[in-house]
């Protein structure tokens, strides 16, 4: 599977994501700079990494979401290419409108950096097919703005359509209904605050993140 990782000024998890993708697919991803206007053809997966793109100026992800490369990413997402945004990548996906809601400052105001327990709520998506329904997994978080917010109608719609992919099994950041990750309506775009790319080999303390990438590989390849 051919993959790509989008790199913005201030991204800092792009290499983690690249290592995870190379380990799972056996092929190095293309690293795409934010000023590029076109993506390589035939991509099976586009990753938007964590970090502090543009220093989180204005709002986390706001400036990146308007960068040239994101227009190409939105077009690919609309064609059905799997797009995965982690942490700052999730913030960027909400700012582009590919995913609903917004990520606000953590309710406790603290930067939260630890492994957290969460449950897999949807096992039908390409990202989550390798997990068992309601399985509890542990994945690290590291964020200041992970407090998912959406109005009640949007939250009800997300729940009703099975678009809540992951839910925290403990209090982390004040997120509405404990939402850790959501899917778009078509199911090919996933945004999540926890970092599965940091839980892909035994030395990381577990393999709970690895199955996410393996699931996409299985679905796409």
């Amino acid at each position: 599977m051919k993959t790509a990782v989008i790199v913005f000024p201030g991204s800092n998890c792009d290499r983690d994501l690249a290592v995870a993708l190379e380990q799972v697919t056996g092929r190095k991803p293309d690293m795409i700079w934010h000023t590029d206007t076109e993506l390589p053809s035939g991509l099976g997966f586009i990753g938007i990494p964590g970090g502090f793109s543009y220093g989180d100026y204005l709002r986390s992800g706001a400036i990146s979401a308007r960068s040239p490369v994101m227009r190409a990413v939105v077009a690919e997402a609309e064609r059905g290419v799997p797009v995965f945004g982690v942490c700052n990548g999730f913030q960027i996906l909400t700012e582009t409108g590919l995913l609903p809601g917004a990520l606000m400052r953590n309710a406790g105001l603290n930067f939260v950096c630890r492994d957290v327990a969460m449950t897999v709520e949807n096992t039908q998506s390409i990202f989550t097919s390798r997990y068992k329904a309601n399985e509890e997994i542990r994945i690290p978080v590291a964020h200041h703005d992970g407090n998912f917010f959406a109005d009640d109608a949007t939250l009800d719609r997300l729940e009703g359509e099975g678009r809540v992919a992951f839910r925290y099994a403990e209090e982390v950041n004040g997120a509405a209904r404990g939402i850790a990750g959501i899917l778009n309506a078509q199911g090919n775009v996933l945004g999540m605050m926890p970092h599965p790319e940091r839980m892909i080999e035994p030395a990381h303390g577990g393999l709970d993140g690895r199955r996410l990438f393996e699931g996409v590989l299985e679905a796409v390849a």
Binding site: A107, N147, F149, D151
Partner: protein, 77 residues
């Protein structure tokens, strides 16, 4: 021409920063502060040719996230 954009959180949206400021004011001994909401002020220096409609578009497309924020435009004379 200076135009000021005030970006504020919508009513129902939790404002952790406002709460922290509120708490700090109380710890300094200021009583009678019922609530604090923090927002942003963005000052634009605009050419005379920029229309009201264009400023609205700037707010909607970038300056405010209308999922969580309201904005108010104060056009300079």
């Amino acid at each position: 021409m200076k135009t000021r954009i005030f970006v504020t959180l919508k009513g129902g949206v939790l404002d952790p920063q406002g709460k922290a400021i509120h708490h700090a004011l109380e710890s300094l001994g200021f009583s009678g502060v019922n609530d604090v909401r923090a927002g942003k002020l963005i000052e634009l220096d605009l050419a005379e040719t920029v229309t009201d409609g264009e400023i609205e578009e700037m707010c909607k497309k970038l300056l405010a996230n209308t999922v969580i924020e309201n904005y108010r435009i104060e056009r300079g004379a």
